[in-house]
């Protein structure tokens, strides 16, 4: 019975007819899936973020006169399970569309599934460039600034230093590999005499930090580009600090300013590193202050970057439904293209060109205050300023 209602609803909407009155009273269900058990450090704050957003949207009267309801699932941390969960959300729970995912391979798998099922998918977290470029598709939109974008945000500072001998260390999988490749390419384009004298690929979560720090020191670089995070970052910082690796060396580290990865380092946070991140207690814009207050009031805890991502994902979904005026997939996808709305980081736009949002990140340097790592001299870099020229994007993205 329920399924038939929704089918009727969808076909009715497709034909441009008014929605049946009964259906309007029910909540709009959205399907959310993520690897909550595999990446809890990022995803528990993320869950809190989206829960807050749902509460706010519904308190303000919902969307199209209906409440939002999120059906959230653990995707088991593998693409195969994620695709099954996505199927469950669509066919059993009858959700309107999908959102979520963290790891790149899972994001890609769900995005391909969404293309197959002709369903909108808002990829909240995955960083891989491919999800909007090489393997992008019409139904998938991505919120977070990608690996390429965050890397590009660090490059101007790197170029200014005019260091010639660079070393790279990265977690040995697609994210680390593409970050390093993008950094090399962007740096050498502006500074052709920069050379990379050492490169260390560490298995994710299993870095031999002492050996890596020693090998990097032996190569005598003037600067290091790192894309480590989590436990690997903590181990690398500890060993590098102890062995004096970072003395007189400039270090750039993607993501290291995110509270998820910075806070565990406590007083050992490496001073002077150039990082991307989220200085939550120093951002004084009205939209962020409002978010911060609401978050702290609800959870009695401070937001992490994941909270902002979760919160903004729901805002994107709500804005898309409002703009589309219906739950028809093609209308939703059309609405997402070029959709602009506010987030705690300011206004963002989902580019029609490649479905990447222009959400940016904060770039700054690390310091220690009161035994805690903080970001100083930070600035917000808008995502639209960290993307390659349109022609290049068109070349990479398949036309479909």
């Amino acid at each position: 019975m329920k399924r038939r209602t929704v089918l009727a609803l969808a076909s009715g909407a497709a034909a441009g007819l008014a929605l049946p009155v009964r259906a309007q009273q029910g909540a709009i269900k959205l399907g959310e899936l993520n690897s909550y058990k595999v990446f809890p450090a990022f995803l528990e704050p993320y869950r809190k973020g989206w829960e807050l957003a749902v509460e706010e949207v519904n308190a303000a009267g919902g969307v199209l006169g209906r409440k939002l309801e999120i059906v959230s699932r653990d995707d088991g941390g593998t693409p195969g399970d994620a695709v099954r969960v996505a199927e469950e959300l669509l066919s059993r729970e009858q959700v309107s569309f999908l959102l979520g995912t963290f790891a790149s391979h899972i994001g890609l798998a769900v995005s391909d599934f969404a293309r197959q099922r002709k369903t909108l998918f808002i990829a909240a977290e995955p960083l891989t460039d491919k999800i909007v470029w090489d393997q992008g598709n019409q139904y998938t939109f991505r919120l977070r600034p990608s690996t390429y974008m965050q890397t590009a945000m660090l490059v101007p500072d790197a170029v200014k230093l005019k260091k010639k001998r660079w070393a790279a260390v990265y977690p040995n999988y697609e994210y680390g590999q593409s970050a390093t490749a993008a950094f090399k390419k962007l740096l050498q384009a502006q500074q052709p005499d920069a050379s990379f004298v050492a490169e260390q690929a560490a298995p994710l979560g299993k870095i031999e930090a002492g050996a890596v720090a020693q090998a990097l020191a032996d190569a005598k670089p003037e600067a290091i580009f790192s894309s480590l995070f989590g436990a690997d970052l903590a181990k690398f910082v500890r060993e590098g600090n102890q062995r004096g690796l970072f003395k007189g060396i400039e270090v750039f580290n993607l993501l290291a300013g995110e509270p998820e990865y910075l806070d565990p380092l406590k007083e050992e946070a490496p001073k002077g590193w150039y990082v991307t991140g989220y200085p939550w207690n120093e951002i004084k814009t009205p939209e962020h202050t409002k978010f911060l207050k609401a978050y702290q009031a609800k959870y009695n805890d401070y937001p992490r970057l994941g909270s902002v991502v979760g919160y903004s994902t729901i805002l994107s979904a709500a804005a898309a439904i409002k703009k589309a005026g219906a739950l028809d997939q093609e209308k939703l996808v059309a609405a997402m293209s070029g959709l602009s709305h506010g987030t705690p980081f300011g206004d963002i736009t989902y580019r029609a060109l490649d479905h990447q949002s222009t959400m940016g990140a904060y770039v700054g340097r690390l310091d220690v205050k009161d035994g805690k790592g903080v970001m100083v001299d930070w600035r917000y870099v808008d995502g639209k300023d960290a993307l390659p020229p349109d022609a290049e994007v068109r070349r990479m993205r398949p036309t479909n």
């Binding site: 195969g80 099954r84 199927e87 798998a109 040995n172 560490a202 032996d218 060993e239 102890q242």
Partner: protein, 639 residues
């Protein structure tokens, strides 16, 4: 590399080996005496690290932090030792509450229980310590560095290098100079005889579990200044610990020491060598760290089938306890089931999800049955069966995407590719036996995984491949459901029939009595090799079906986790029945799906359910069901 950096990296390797040795020594002791493959050993290590953090930072024990301890050297070492002892008690609890009840279950069944313990401990750790990494302080009193040949070497690393041989010495003394040690050695050689001589086996086992767990906890606690406490530690460590144990030789503590040093040092040098050019070709040794321990293990096992210092297992009285030959299901049992399953899409046309879930179950049932052919009738345990599942999935995807072959052809060629690799890897594996064989299969699986993971331009690397959908006639869920049902049923029927062909009988003969089998002219090794290949090929059929049912694949399909899932399905269902693996695949897949939907701590729930099943049905679900069936009153009368 200069001499100075050589020395520095050697020290790094030795320091890295220290904890690894302790964990592996504990694992080795436990296996030697109880024959339990303790999957939860990594979790004990993780608990050791969390425990030391909590004690030292005075989180739950302000008293401890006050009493002159806290962040002092005394406080640090007290926290390390206390944490190790507490972990020892956790180990005792696991042994007494769970394992002691299932010592008489079929071999390896205890692995299932320890797998469940891993799931439970992980969720408990998440609930207690939260999701964020906990970075411990540097070791008080040992927080600076010593300059050796112009290189800064942390004092704590040197301490670790000293501690490991001390632990080895203590263990060696305990094993060779005490009565307890004599009993442990005796039990390692022949535990039935020890029992027959009136030794209280239960206490001996508990004691060994305590010492083994203390060692795991100590290994973890000692890492506090070097490694943040986080929830990924258990699985990150367990594979390495097994590798060290096996490379050293099961049950040999000095062997574990040697192997830990070998692997620690080889890893450090892979990092140190970095990227090198050979005849214009760039080789990144640092990328090799992904898999180097498994390469070492493969080489060691091929050259020395019982590890560096291991000896061939002395007495095994398996023949006496080996199972009665399972019965082939008769048509009144399977035909209605098949018909019912075939009718599902017609009866419930709107429930696409049920079809998807059942398709997954069929595929895993075939995968599990193919593993069971090895574990049951052939007497070969494989820890790396997912290699063939993953290779076939990739073969299918590559043929479809890169060679532009039709999907039907790709699907049928996938098992051929998997069988080819099974033929190659199997040739090496069947030369070994027992856990050594199992670990060599794991080594090959990890090598296959790492190649898939690294070969970006060909396999898509860690991101995997997408867009692997079947053609339009199979695009509907019901069409694909019927295809999967038909192919999996055929595959399972073929494997079961094979076990009742002369080939199958000769496999059982080879398992139950290799000497007699050889004497009557059966080439046991060759039969096993063929069985390995057939099992690999059928796992490949499952892998190919899986790829096209999901539309995307990733390296995880040949990962340790996938291999473990297959093992869990077989053991859960019951290794001594034919239908067990099918039941296990169904129950496990369904449980995972159902629990993940309804509870936040689904992992712990899954673990608890498995534990309950383990304790209720030590013969597996199918075995237990059969026992119950045979006990029904009217069955007893006719029997």
């Amino acid at each position: 590399m200069t001499f100075a950096s050589f020395i520095a990296q050697l020290l790094n390797g030795l320091a890295g080996a220290s904890s690894l040795f302790m964990v592996a020594a504990g694992l080795s002791l436990i296996f030697g005496v109880t024959r339990i493959v303790n999957f939860a050993h990594g979790s004990l290590y993780m608990l050791g690290l969390y425990g030391a953090y909590t004690l030292l930072e005075g989180l739950v024990t302000p008293l401890f932090a006050f009493g002159g301890f806290g962040r002092t050297s005394l406080g640090f070492w007290a926290a390390v030792v206390l944490s190790a002892l507490l972990v020892g008690l956790v180990g005792v609890a696991i042994e007494v509450l769970i394992l002691r009840r299932i010592y008489h279950a079929p071999e390896l069944f205890q692995l299932l229980a320890t797998f469940a313990v891993v799931l439970v401990i992980k969720d408990i750790a998440l609930a207690i310590w939260g999701p964020e990494d906990l970075v411990g302080p540097r070791a008080p009193g040992l927080d600076s560095t010593v300059v050796i040949l112009d290189r800064h070497v942390p004092q704590y690393d040197l301490a670790l290098i000293v501690i490991a041989p001390l632990v080895l010495l203590a263990l060696w003394l305990a094993l060779t100079r005490t009565r307890w040690g004599a009993l442990v050695r005796a039990a390692t050689q022949d535990r039935e005889m020890v029992g027959a001589l009136g030794v209280n086996e239960a206490w001996l086992f508990t004691g060994v579990f305590f010492i083994g767990s203390v060692l795991a906890g100590l290994g973890g606690a000692l890492q506090l200044p070097r490694e943040p406490a986080h929830l990924g530690l258990d699985l990150a460590l367990i594979a390495d610990a097994f590798v060290v144990t096996v490379v050293g030789g099961l049950g040999s503590v000095p062997g574990a020491f040697l192997a830990a040093i070998l692997i620690g040092v080889v890893k450090a040098f892979c990092v140190a060598i970095g990227t090198q050019e050979f005849v214009g070709l760039e080789v990144s040794f640092s990328r090799l760290t992904l898999v180097v321990e498994f390469l070492v293990m493969a080489v060691v096992l091929i050259v020395r089938p019982y590890g560096l210092l291991g000896r061939p297992p002395a007495t095994q009285r398996l023949a006496a306890e080996s199972a009665s030959p399972p019965r082939l299901p008769r048509w009144p049992a399977w035909a209605p089931a098949l018909v019912l399953l075939a009718l599902v899409p017609l009866a419930m046309p709107s429930d696409r999800y049920l079809l998807v879930l059942l398709t997954d179950i069929f595929i895993f049932a075939l995968f599990a049955v193919s593993l069971h052919v090895l574990m049951g009738p052939s007497g070969m345990v494989s820890f790396g069966h997912a290699a063939y599942f993953g290779i076939a999935a990739y073969a299918a995807a590559l043929m479809l995407k890169r060679a532009a072959l039709p999907m039907e052809v790709s699907l049928l060629l996938a098992p051929v590719a998997a069988g080819g690799f099974a033929l190659l890897f199997g040739w090496f594996c069947v030369r070994l036996s027992g856990v050594y064989l199992a670990m060599l299969t794991l080594a090959f699986a990890q090598i296959a995984w790492s190649v898939i993971f690294q070969w970006d331009s060909f396999t898509g690397g860690s991101n995997g491949m997408i867009g692997i959908w079947p053609p339009s006639w199979l695009a509907s869920k019901s069409a694909y459901y019927w295809l999967a049902l038909a192919l999996c049923a055929l595959g399972i029927a073929f494997l079961w029939r094979m076990l009742y062909a002369p080939f199958g009988y000769s496999l059982r003969a080879g398992r139950d009595s290799p000497l007699r089998a050889e004497a009557i002219g059966i080439n046991v090794r060759r039969q096993q090799w063929f069985a390995f290949t057939v099992a690999g090929a059928l796992a490949g059929l499952a892998g190919g079906l899986y790829a096209f049912s999901k539309g995307s694949i990733s390296p995880e399909l040949s990962s340790i986790a996938q291999s473990t899932d297959a093992l869990v399905m077989v053991l859960l269902g019951g290794v001594q029945t034919l239908t067990g693996p099918v039941a296990g695949a169904g129950v496990f897949t369904w449980l995972k799906d159902e629990l993940a939907r309804h509870t936040e701590f689904w992992r712990a729930m899954l673990g608890l359910v498995i534990l309950a099943l383990v304790l209720l049905f030590p013969q597996g679900i199918a075995g237990g069901a059969r026992l119950l069936w045979d006990r029904l009153p009217w069955r007893r009368q006719t029997a």
